[in-house]
Subunit: 301 residues, 5 copies
């Protein structure tokens, strides 16, 4: 039994044993098992950005089996993907590698009235496929906010009954400047909204020092924000004073050195882990495995 994991789970007292059990499972798998930290491999870029742009950098990625294999080989806590990719590997990996079904998705082909992902799978699918959680993207800032929040209200209620936690990708988008989307105030706000919507795990982008909201500016004057670690600390604080698990995406592809420095900052700031997709699967296999292991080593401390 891991004390640190149990301490984290104590913040979810009141959740049913199914949800708790699946959160525990996520934190008891892979290299970081028992540390209270997580590195998750997410692969929805094929859907979100198209197959060529996503997989041509490392063509192994065209094969859905590769990603599950990479997650296992590198010691990830879980693998997250849309319906099709999960269907392609669940039969083989279910019961060993925790699977997270991404139940909504967006693509670059269409331009919808406001940023809003389409529902692409269901809690019923997650159960049939033996998944350990559902994943859902919200776009705080979007004019389609109300519809999205109502969708996840309903889906997470259904998921909870089935013992499945909800992992929320929270990406501010819509009523703001481009740099505002990753501004510290916005990221912290988006993360907090996800927690308030009942997310068990929140995933946001690493915040910049930019402050978007005029109404919020003065409150951010005294908040340390020079280093990423500082900013991450504020985001973690915004997630119920660290009582909700918040993890950070790697974002745009970057050099290994930059990436590992970012991870060090995340770790220093108290992040619960990282969710790293493109930066992993777009590298050649050996390099990807090495990178993920190095990332885990940092979180392991």
């Amino acid at each position: 039994m891991s004390e640190v994991v149990e301490r984290i789970l104590s913040n979810y007292a009141g959740e049913n044993p199914g949800v708790i059990g699946n959160l525990r499972r996520l934190m008891h798998t892979g290299t970081l098992a028992g540390t209270g930290k997580m590195v998750i491999l997410p692969v929805d870029q094929g859907f979100e950005h198209g197959p060529g742009r996503s997989f041509e950098p490392n063509p192994q990625g065209y094969d859905p089996e590769y990603h599950a294999y990479l997650a296992v080989k590198s010691g990830c806590n879980a693998y997250a993907a849309p319906l099709g990719f999960i269907e392609a590997v669940a039969h083989k990996h279910g019961g060993r590698l925790p699977l997270i079904l991404k139940v909504n998705n967006s693509d670059l082909l269409a331009k919808t009235a406001s940023p809003q992902s389409a529902l692409t799978s269901s809690v019923e699918d997650a159960l049939r496929l033996g998944c350990s959680a559902i994943g859902f993207t919200i776009y705080p800032g979007s004019a389609g906010r109300n519809e999205m929040y109502e969708q996840i209200r309903d889906m997470s209620r259904e998921a909870r009954k089935a013992g499945l936690p909800t992992i929320m990708w929270s990406y501010a988008r819509g009523n703001m400047s481009k740099e505002g989307e990753t501004g510290l105030d916005v990221i912290a706000y988006a993360a907090h909204i996800a927690c308030q919507l009942g997310a068990h795990v929140v995933k946001v982008k690493p915040p910049t020092a930019h402050i978007e909201g005029d109404d919020r500016r003065k409150f951010y004057e005294k908040i340390p924000k020079d280093t990423l670690a500082d900013r991450v600390r504020h985001v973690v604080k915004s997630c119920f004073d660290g009582k909700r698990i918040v993890i950070f995406s790697g974002g745009e592809p970057k050099t290994t050195a930059d990436l590992l420095e970012e991870i060090r900052q995340l770790n220093a700031g108290g992040a619960f882990g990282s969710i790293m997709g493109r930066n992993a699967f777009q590298r050649p296999e050996a390099e990807a495995v090495k990178l993920l292991q190095d990332v885990m080593a940092i979180f392991k401390g």
Copy 2:
């Protein structure tokens, strides 16, 4: 037992025996039985383009019986059509010719706010009529994307429970140039989205060398795209590295020579087959049968 068919089906491990059995049935009917290749006769042009334009070139086509007859006579794997046409032949052909119920359809009379087909029949209809699969059209790129993806999410879940696979017609349309609709990046993307939405069989148009998306252009520089075979190879790769069945439509009516050359390219590129409507039923019967048989001969290799 056909090894090649069983190898294809092994990529669908995890599906229930009803879905597997119907996919096997599709691949064990007609001239191409057991080859792992399919030629499907689809006749939704009456609905999509109007009866005069569709059937005047060969007036036998006004009679729904003609199409089922043509599918059987030429040795097709299956026949796909909207509700009315299936209702007109299911009683006579059910149990011999696999029928695919096209559950949504569009027509040229109306101009909807964004490209989106109407739901015109149901899984319950497919069962009542003894069909072996449902067919559904998505228009990636349409502003109505979210509604469409949610519709097929629900219908394919219901279909699966009843042991029916889902065949997805994926036609990018909406937020792009006219030539973009058949550009290689767009076709590959549309095919990949269908796979991620859980399609068991994907149908797209043959791609051109055009690249539509600026964000994708550089990734397509190194992908061979000079011949149709090259481009088809990329589309097949984009369908889970060939682990999902992807077939190609014949598109605009063309000369027999052009058509057969296209089929040769499809085959060389690794396509799982062809879905050929207008180019078949708009020709005189003898010519249509000959054409379909020639097409099958190419896929048979």
Copy 3:
């Protein structure tokens, strides 16, 4: 037993005996019993155009009983009307005069975003009232197409389970010129769509020689369209090569001579009958009965 009726019904093989039985009942009532032809009296003009405009020409029409009486007296095959009118006569006429419940209706008071009738009654109502069929209006060409097609998909599925056939009023409207609404290509297309949606009986307006669609023009060059009979022949052909019952409305009020000439043309073109409302009930009773009998005499041949 009528051979011609049974031959027509054989085109509906696969339908359940309840649906077949009601179709047979429609074709075995009134003067045209057993001929395979039908003349139906529809009275939804009160709803569609308002009572004064509809019934002042012959004030007997204000009384719902009058229409059922007229249908019986003149020997019609059936009487079709909205909920209220059917409720007013079903108790007295059920079991003798086949009743068709018009389950959606439009009115001139409102102007909806796109042409679309309101659902005004249900299959449950049709059963409660002892009706022999439901009637539903679609407006192909309307931007509200998807909603309408989905409505009739669901209602006809429910009706079929209860043994009730669906009669579809198919009136193109919306994305076209005023004369396009009755153009030959449009009428044929609208009729074909109704058949594809699973209509057992289709009702359209008599087509003019106008061709609306540029994409269809060349296909209509060789189709004979000089006489109404020619044009009706094409519409019947467009209804599954005459395998679906298609009947024609009388349209705008006109002289008796014009009307009877029109009927002669319909009959010569292979129409299965006529559905005649205003031209009948807006005339004085004796004249109306005479007219309907003359119409039937033409169809009887």
Copy 4:
């Protein structure tokens, strides 16, 4: 297309195309495809009599795969078994060998108040497993009659909606002498009841010349009953004058010569085929295949 099969199916006009299609599929599979005759391999003896007694005579039978293999190898029309045995082979054989899910079963361990099988699987299971029909045993004569008849009333209604025909095993049992169970009057009566309950295919035991019912004796005086062929003729006549498919079980294990003579009599009497379990799978493989092929040769005529 087989005229004889279509003539048989014409007796089921009014059934939906799904049911017709599955009946056609049963009659278009294996050696007897297209002859209108059927030989079905049923293996529920493991459940009904226990594994040792059922499979020790030929231990290949312990393996569920063996039975499906035997059915295919010998050219049977279909394979019928309880849930577990069907689950064990459906993934591999679905889409090629028609499977019949036996949805109720009895065993020799228990002694129930009156003869009545337990419901052991469902229409939903049949769809999930890709079956072509459900099988149900009734025991006319049992004090539990009402419950059984109501069960099959409900299950066959659900099956029909899903396009699945119902095959009824009709074994008189309960309120009669032991020899009465196979008496001509009882077998004919049990077969007739199954037809009246809506069975699409009826399975009974070969009748003896015994007459059980005093109230029926005089009516059987003039009915020829000396040969099995005579008696079978009366049973077939009792199944709606031959308008329902009735097949006969082989019953107790017997010598090959006796068995083939019985088949000749069944065929001479107009039986639609045979359902042969123990007599097939309890023989060594080569002998079983030979026997089944000899049986088929007789029915093929």
Copy 5:
């Protein structure tokens, strides 16, 4: 990845990935992880025999936490118990120790008309509590057979949809002598029935050489039955020729030496493992842990 586990799972092809994943999880937990063997700790004796009789021998057993602790400490694959005991530990152990919810139970206080357990929890409970399977007891031989078989038919269908396998306790009881309950023919029959009812894992008692059924006696003459290993071999064969997982209970408390000899025989006969309750938790902790580890050592080989 364990080849032996994957080979066992291949016998369940056709099951959904959720069911497969949970079976894999059971076989990848504890000391026997990856060996294809299982030792499960079941504690329903409090319910079945009363607390004093069950827990006084080792009073630690009054505390539900003790059993989960014992299962983990000794390296069991899973822990099975009724609702209350699972509720008492699921929050703490979910996600690490696979839990099996026993959904029906019997007690010694009541005497029901025929042996039949009461439904005491549900699939919904199993999901809420994060269980990996449901457990259900059938009593083949009971006059209440039909009700029991129908209950498990419905519950296992619901469980499968949620990705949960069904473990069936099959105890013949009712229409037989006391020693018949563990006779070889009866145990094999009871195990076979469970498999036919769709059990994923079957649990029976070790069979004696007694043969209960007169109708089965002659078939058991040639079956080796001198040693327990011989008899277990026949039971495994009766479970679809070893294609279903069958495990054996320890039965009445006995000496450690006797118990380990029994396990050796089970293992020699091809049993997939053991389910050992009273013999474990009624011993003092250290002795119990030692015993379970010795048992596992035997199965590990």
